[in-house]
Symmetry: none
């Protein structure tokens, strides 16, 4: 979907203006992160965030259109900082490292639990979806895409590889287990997915592209 790195030097999580006072903005995001970590997204209320931040509710509504957009912004920096840039030199090493970092965050941090709650919220709040795509999906997929692009450039993967499918094969199973909770996200999972995806990608170049679609 997006190939170039999104130029969002600052997130566009809200559709509204942000608070004039940096003090209020920081207090709100800090309180939101706190409540999010303690109680989860469902239990988080604007009223409690306002109280903890020492801020009027209206000030929050002035800056964020919903609980979701606020939680998203509170979540973003923290999560992204746990997903380091990765470049091991081989596609297999890159995939393994990226999955490992993701699994560790998801299993070990409150930020990981917020991720689950936010993905859920996005399904239920269409407006939040817009911000989610711009500030999370596009950003994260941009990083992953560069990983796969490098592998193609190195000749590790066939030139005609479908990068999007590659990315979905790597992270799809991970998000699937995260959301359905049917099996553990552990080291074995990381190894197996890495092995199968890399094997499939190297073997799968010959896939006949169907003609009915672009």
């Amino acid at each position: 979907m997006l190939d170039s790195v999104p130029d969002n030097s600052e997130p566009k999580v809200t559709t509204r203006g942000r608070p004039r006072s940096e003090r209020a903005r920081r207090a709100i995001l800090g309180a939101a992160a706190e409540v999010l970590a303690e109680q989860g997204l469902r239990a988080m209320t604007i009223e409690e965030v306002a109280t903890r931040a020492g801020v009027g509710k209206a000030t929050i509504y002035r800056g964020w259109s919903s609980k979701g957009t606020l939680a998203l912004e509170a979540f973003l920096d923290e999560f992204l900082s746990t997903q380091p840039p990765i470049d091991t030199g081989s596609i297999e090493g890159d995939v393994r490292s990226a999955l490992q970092a993701w699994v560790e965050t998801v299993n070990g941090t409150t930020t990981g639990r917020s991720l689950v709650g936010l993905i859920a919220e996005v399904q239920l709040d269409p407006e939040l979806g817009v911000a989610w795509h711009h500030d999370f999906v596009d950003v994260v997929r941009g990083q992953h895409r560069r990983m796969v692009d490098r592998a193609i450039a190195r000749g590790e993967l066939p030139r005609g590889s479908d990068v999007d499918i590659m990315m979905d094969l790597i992270y799809g199973p991970a998000y699937h287990r995260l959301m359905q909770g049917h099996l553990a996200l552990n080291q074995e999972f990381v190894e197996l997915v890495t092995a199968m995806v890399v094997a499939g990608a190297k073997a799968g170049a010959a896939v006949p592209r169907v003609g009915t679609l672009g």
Copy 2:
């Protein structure tokens, strides 16, 4: 409907007794399905379902512990009936057919939209998670597992294949696109996933199994 679902001749979606009167039960589930299709899970309220069903709210609470469990039951039969038993004779054919049926439901029906809402709700309501696993995840994965087992039995896939990872590689990308909405769930997606997963599975037998570390 299902090619021999294990033992749940009747779903265990609720932890409570069900309404004494079958009439009320049908009216409630019908009204719930209606509201679910029209307005989605977030907008559905117990009050509206009760009104439409011509039933007291207490009667609903007697049978279902939350909006989620009610929606789950209203969703289940309908969704599962759209996922027919599959046995084309080859793993490639089976995977393609299964994904196709899933994609068609998800793209074309209100039931598909309910699926998204329910997965979201499950993340936010732990109690609902129990019912979700018993009545949805286990059932559906049971079907898929038999599909892969048959391929191993036929010798299409190596004997030591990790069936769970296979299943996650097939459906993980699908659910990933469904929840993140970053790319279309179309025929090309079905073909590419089928090809890469089958290629990876056939090639991936040599993967060195890590110990039980994790």
Copy 3:
């Protein structure tokens, strides 16, 4: 306007149904009377009444359409019980006694202060005006009217006397001082008004009724 005694065996202060539970109704009216006496009508809030009554705000809104109608009902019984039926045998005695009772209530009780607040509120809330007229103005004027009617029957006042004007001459100055606060409502005021009104009424029978009006 009204001649016959209004048959309001129970007040019609609200336009809505009243709470089903007598317990809630009593708690609400009690709390309202309390807050009214302590803080006055302006400072009284539905939230505080609800809290003190141990009742949800919605229960109050279910029974009363505004702060005013609630305050009115909380005020009514108490106020009316301070204005005893009067029958001294002479118009002069009756007027003096009635004014005296009124002045004592108004000067000495929190109910008196509520009266001021309610009259003010009625000016600002047209809906409240309807209830005010039915439950207060009509009731009180009915009592006063009987007082004047008896004087006419006794022959103390001329047969053609305008009863409404009489009543306004008695109570008009009183309410005027109450609202404008320019002079004290004391015993001297009662005596002077009584004397002048009775003198005017006895002398004023010969007033030529203007013909331009009914």
Copy 4:
């Protein structure tokens, strides 16, 4: 406008300084009068006045301490200009003319409705009461007092007449009907009150003055 208003060459409606810029002051009072006429005192908000006047809220608060004091000043000149100085030569003529002018204003103009709202507001806002007495009650009663004083000087009324009671008997019924709304303020009312008050006043000289009791 007034037949020599005592000393308030400029009203003391506010306890604060006024806006430095005459332009702002006029814009604010104009906007306030407009909103007052359109929506009444209850619905008038400082925010709307500020917006209409093209002025910051702080500029209003710099000049007036509350909605009431602002409304009072917006109301004053306009109302007083409708109550012309009166001197017909007889007490009866004076009373009739004064009541007539008052009734016409009250029945026919938005200024009349503002009067009601302001009297109400005065009951609920003690601080406003101070300004109200200084700028309205004292001014108006000053006019009326001179009217009665002249009648006494002319010998129409007994020398010992209680001027305050006279004034309350004239205007009390009028304000009473205005606030309670129980009967019309029409020509008949004017005539009857005039007749009865004048009759009472002329006959009532013999009233035994009670001591200073009360």
